[in-house]
Symmetry: D2
Subunit: 301 residues, 4 copies
């Protein structure tokens, strides 16, 4: 696990950089990930998003979907202007934040004081209609090696409990046991087993969660990971053991290290099949100025 603390885990791609650790997905890295594919078996790593998706009050509002155009009325409108083929358009209206369901955080999502990633002043970067820089439209398509670190069983059950801090040592041991060596450009997915409560018991899902704290985040970012994903709401442990801190892993990963966070993942299928290394595909829709985006991460082996 050789790595260079001066090179990763920090903003080190120039003053104009907006993509952070995604710089580490070189063409060679992408090629290697794609070439590792064998049978092209596919794992869908996403939860379904609907009005029952969990959200964290008050900083997140609920997801709502309703209809803007419905087939009956669209047909009637069209008949009134002489259209006879009765094409009934169903078109919804969605009110949402980008942080609902399975999603990826943009680097501009969380500040450290008045600074965003790469020392950008938040005051100049965030406007009324989104991020003028570091928005999710800057994030490139991510095709790289993904690794699963399944720590769900560490405490002897099938999932960790809320507030349970996953340590760097535990991550290292889990990786070693699976024969995995984290390399620059990798995306690491951590399975805590907490995803079982997503949408089935939101109250429990949200009252806290197992996850990493800053030490494990630093351990990962120092090795050059592009993103850290987890089967929970925030990747990081909630509540933080230090009650004077909120979202410190977000601050380190996004604002300091330029490392993306992927939340509300569905990792049970990978774990069931003991798939720990795979080609991972994450393609965030380009919502300009968005602080994140809904995604459909897929693992291919």
């Amino acid at each position: 696990m050789a790595h260079d603390h001066g090179k990763w885990g920090c903003a080190c791609w120039g003053a104009d950089d907006q993509i952070g650790a995604a710089n580490l997905i070189t063409p060679a890295k992408r090629r290697a990930a794609l070439r590792s594919i064998d049978n092209a078996k596919l794992y869908d790593l996403s939860q379904v998003t609907d009005a029952g998706a969990p959200f964290m009050r008050p900083n997140q509002p609920p997801f709502l979907l309703m209809m803007w155009s419905t087939w009956r009325d669209a047909i009637a409108r069209r008949r009134r202007i002489g259209i006879t083929n009765d094409a009934g358009s169903n078109v919804e209206r969605v009110e949402m934040t980008m942080h609902v369901g399975t999603h990826i955080d943009a680097l501009g999502h969380v500040s450290k004081g008045d600074r965003l990633y790469n020392n950008r002043p938040a005051a100049d970067t965030l406007g009324d209609w989104g991020l003028a820089a570091l928005g999710i439209e800057q994030a490139p398509p991510m095709i790289t090696r993904g690794l699963l670190l399944d720590v769900a069983g560490l405490d002897g059950g099938d999932h960790l409990g809320p507030g349970r801090v996953v340590t760097p040592e535990e991550l290292a041991a889990t990786a070693a046991a699976a024969g995995l060596a984290i390399e620059p450009g990798d995306i690491v997915l951590i399975r805590t087993g907490w995803g079982r409560h997503y949408g089935t018991d939101n109250a429990r899902y949200l009252e806290g969660e197992p996850g990493i704290d800053v030490p494990a985040a630093r351990w990962l970012t120092a090795q050059g990971v592009v993103a850290i994903g987890c089967d929970n709401m925030a990747v990081e442990v909630l509540p933080n053991p230090d009650h004077t801190r909120a979202l410190p892993v977000h601050q380190h990963a996004l604002a300091e290290a330029g490392v993306y966070l992927i939340e509300n993942l569905a990792l049970d299928d990978l774990a069931r099949d003991k798939v720990t290394s795979f080609c991972l595909l994450i393609l965030p829709p380009k919502i300009r100025g968005g602080t994140g985006a809904p995604v459909r991460p897929v693992a291919v082996v």
Copy 2:
């Protein structure tokens, strides 16, 4: 171009089927597409979505993005409850339809009279909060071969004009000239050159568009394509030459053939590099009941 009219271009995967022609992406088809990748060069085929994205009144409402939580206020809220690490959360609120920017249509998007794909009664399928079946969460990740049919220059310029119907014969000739044979499970992307007006001259982009009509759509679906994409708003020619018909290609593709439509694509980079065959990745976020989803289609060669 042997094909079986009885097999594709119709709903033929059983009464319970909800994924239509995506059934044609077999593991072997996906594997072949992935194995065709050489250097892993990547083409981003999506436009950026923002409040300036074109939309078709009145059946589509505008995209709006505003802020729900901003760093300054989030920090102030957290300080009031004893948090001292000043994590400033930027979280937006988006009001949108799924049919804005580069997106894929769900099979339940358009009806033929009171029927949706696979003869499902629209009255039983569409409710106040979306599609109970045929929603975009049913669409599988699409990893398959993509083909570019670049017809932009057919009229001697660099793009076709609004109302210009692209015929099956023109598609066939374009494919033949590029040495392409459409096969079941392929996704065909048609470049008309109209995408140049997306977001730069929305009035023009929306006043009409070049595209296919039903004959070309039938020609494609009969060959077993999974989806048809285009660098315009609706895939199909607008206005339809027959002014008594609206969205007949949508009706045929979605409701009859179970073939997806992908709209507002950015295809200029592929055309510039004369890339006509590629591994295409389309991963629609699983918005339950959604009549479509924003996507970030990527071609890899």
Copy 3:
């Protein structure tokens, strides 16, 4: 309490009528109400609407208010185009139904089967973008006599309990005790004491409520009331004692009798001062096609 069952409590103002019992507010009625004012003391009968306002899932979505334009960013935008007087515009975006906070129901709010008020077919009247008839923009300004029937103490406490049906006999006795005779064109406000839970204990406010059932509603509409208001969510008792019926009072009042309902009223100040007869002002904003509107009802004595 002479009244004519053939005249009121039914749709009896012609086939084109869209205002129902508001027809009973004649100029003379309005004049009399205004002339009854003595010191012009004013009672505000409305609750405050915010994100903490109660709403009934799933048929009502939550109220959300966020900012579209904020002073800092507006000033910055204006400076960039040469404006120097630093006018900072604060403009919100609200996502709401009209049935939140203190509001009035439009006659088209609830159907009886496939019929709305005045036997209008719901299928022809409700479209994707609201009511083509019977919307709240049809409701005239209401300036008429208001009567308070304070039944909060009927069970010996300071409020009635959830599920408690208020009978016509109790209303009649309450009116008689206060020396009140209901007359055509009046608006009757019923105080149950349940309003104390509005916004302070929404779970309780919504788990049920005291209120009238159909017999009391018929008793009121037969006397020619224009509207019935209450300090609860639905005017009517919830849950209905007959568990096979939902909103029967809404059906009778709105769809049969053309009588408006006013919900989530704040009636404690009137009760404290024992004000039972007053000039009542209700001025619904004209939201075209709206199924209701937020209002600020005011009593003047």
Copy 4:
């Protein structure tokens, strides 16, 4: 027209004051206005709000109304849980700012630099979810004398043109010709004739408008008016003759003088009947933290 420049046209009701010139509507003032009513004839001074309502980009977003619950689906949902009386609930979802259609501005709507009315720091007052002070829920019901100053014919036509500044001298002459003397606690409505374009020719309505500039605003506020209304989008002339200034009348009225602005009024009926003095009723719904509210102003004579 005796008045005291030290008393009105400035914030002079104490450091905690949040209602500004509404303090001038004393019980005696309200009583006098109500007692002036003769036949109780009513004039509705509001426009209808719908998706065709004009709005000023980019600082205002469009009004949208769609359905959240529709009768057919509500009946179906209820039948599934054993309800048999087929109450079909029609409930809309509205996405709007408070500054659409006929509305009143809250005192916290526009800042003068970093200060709102009464020298309140905007930074402390405006949060992510609205105004912590000076929101529209603070505005009291307004029942007072209204005066119409009809300047529409000043240039010999039936309306003034865009950019036409209405001067204090013209207002004074118009008042004098009508025999009107402005008194503290009055609300002055100015008719320019521009309202004819509301909703009928929005492009013209918004490309500019006739209205007052700061001198006329100061002349009015110095006389103790509570609010200034107009049949245009912003009360004030647009564009301002001084192109380096935006919304200076808003700054003076709202932020300096604590005087409310009422916009998009419908004043033609009053003018037709030459009604220049009346009892004016404005009852803003209490939307907490709102920067304004839709209203249904009514004049009664």
